[in-house]
Amino acid sequence: MNRHVIAPRENWQARVERDGLIWHTAGGAPYWNEAAYYALTPREIDEIESATAELYGMFISAGQYVVDKQLFGRFGIADWCWPLITSAWNAEPPALNYGRFDLGYDGRSPPKLFEFNCDTPTSLLEAAVIQWAWKEDVFPNLDQFTSLHDKLVAKWADIAPYLAPGPVYFAHVLDASGEDAVTTAYLMDTARAAGLAVDGIVMTDIGLSEDGRFVDLQAREMRTIYKLYPWEWMVQEAFGPNLAVNDRTAWIEPIWKMIWSNKAILPILWDMYPRHPNLLWASYDQVASPDYVRKPILSREGANIEIFRNGEGVAQRDGAYGSSPTIYQGLYDLPDFQGARPVIGSWVVDGEPAGIGIREDGLITGNLSRFAPHIIRA
């Protein structure tokens, strides 16, 4: 895996905006960074693809273990949610079942899992569409590892017969950057491409009728809602308790994603698959080496993560998750390309590897990291 500097396309901003990425600049610097790209060999892509499939299978087993043993307390999940999660896990309601494994990879040793973002993953449009369009412009004769768009459309078509009548609503928050709106709009586009009727709604506009039905701004019942909004927030908000008594609305993704998207699953994986080549050691309470990372189990965008080398703190990021329970995970030395440290976001749709997106940052990858495209080159 190599990083190369390259001249951005002229008017690249207009080009990516035309494909929907209105959120291409953050903090005055490009978030979409086409001044560099990564070249991976077919062998490296195969290795990432295999690891992704392997990890997905391990998450299936670990999820079953958590449900069988009712280990939700470890995940900081309120008691009243346990039967909901158990029921959803067993019933398998309609889901896209998509997500992004964040991996450390240097092309020399096996990819290592940092976490699985499978409840509200972003950088989706970039990975599925924007980098492909860039490749078509810049390297039309080369290939890229992304089949995300087609797999998402196919998955919508797959679950369509199991959805209740009426449109699929797409709910998101009004984030200042527009990142969530872009991601939600893109997913809405994939559902529309699959032939589904769709509508959009802001999370705070979701209504609750007197008889406990979730309704839109026109008081129409919403039977299927895709939400780019974490379950751990939903269950603790005012309408949260209603989720336990309303079985008319299907949520995508389902509530069982509270298991996989929680970093408390990492020590369980390590216990089930000790020394697996795609895992870093992880523990709830013990440090297995002097170089490690302390992560809140529910933090997002790199918030409240601390990195230790030889037992000494060397990097940390502030955030809103300081009071969350934490886990410890072995430190992975990200490859350093003159200060750009790439994390591989390896996408999966219903168990099938679906492509990668690469974000660059420093020691901790946050939501102001830069997204760089990639190509496959022998």
Partner: protein
């Protein structure tokens, strides 16, 4: 793996993608002034049990009289004229009281729709940067 193997099923989606920007604009065009609200009533009341959990209004209506374990809970306007939040059934009453304010006319919330019960964490920056994605 052959070159092209992974990309070959990737269609050119220009027609479809044009909608992304439009939809994103539409999604975010909603006003950001909406807060937890309950219809347009000026002042409302709803029924609670003795523990302060909201229950259907029929409980207060049909059990009226001495020994009734259910109580009307009264809500006025908050600062700026915003209506107070009415919880869903089973939710805990807050922001009002069990005694009506003199001179105010209270209407039932039956049939109305509560909003603002989801989204409070993320919209205010609970995600660290004001979003809910990761």
């Amino acid at each position: 793996m052959r070159p092209g193997q992974r990309g070959e099923i990737m269609p050119i989606r220009s027609g479809s993608l044009l909608t992304v920007v439009l939809v994103a604009s539409a999604l975010t065009a909603c006003d950001d002034e909406r807060t937890a609200s309950w219809g347009e009533s000026d002042s409302v009341r709803y029924c609670t049990d003795a523990a302060g959990h909201r229950v259907p209004d029929q409980n207060c209506e049909t059990h009226a009289g001495g020994g009734n374990p259910f109580l009307w809970y009264y809500l006025g306007r908050l600062g700026g004229g915003r209506p107070a939040f009415v919880p869903p059934l089973g939710g805990v009453a807050s922001g009002g009281g069990y005694a009506p304010a003199p001179g105010l006319a209270y209407t039932s919330v039956s049939g109305a729709i509560a909003r603002g019960g989801f989204g409070a964490t993320g919209g205010g920056g609970g995600g660290g940067e004001g979003g809910a994605g990761e």
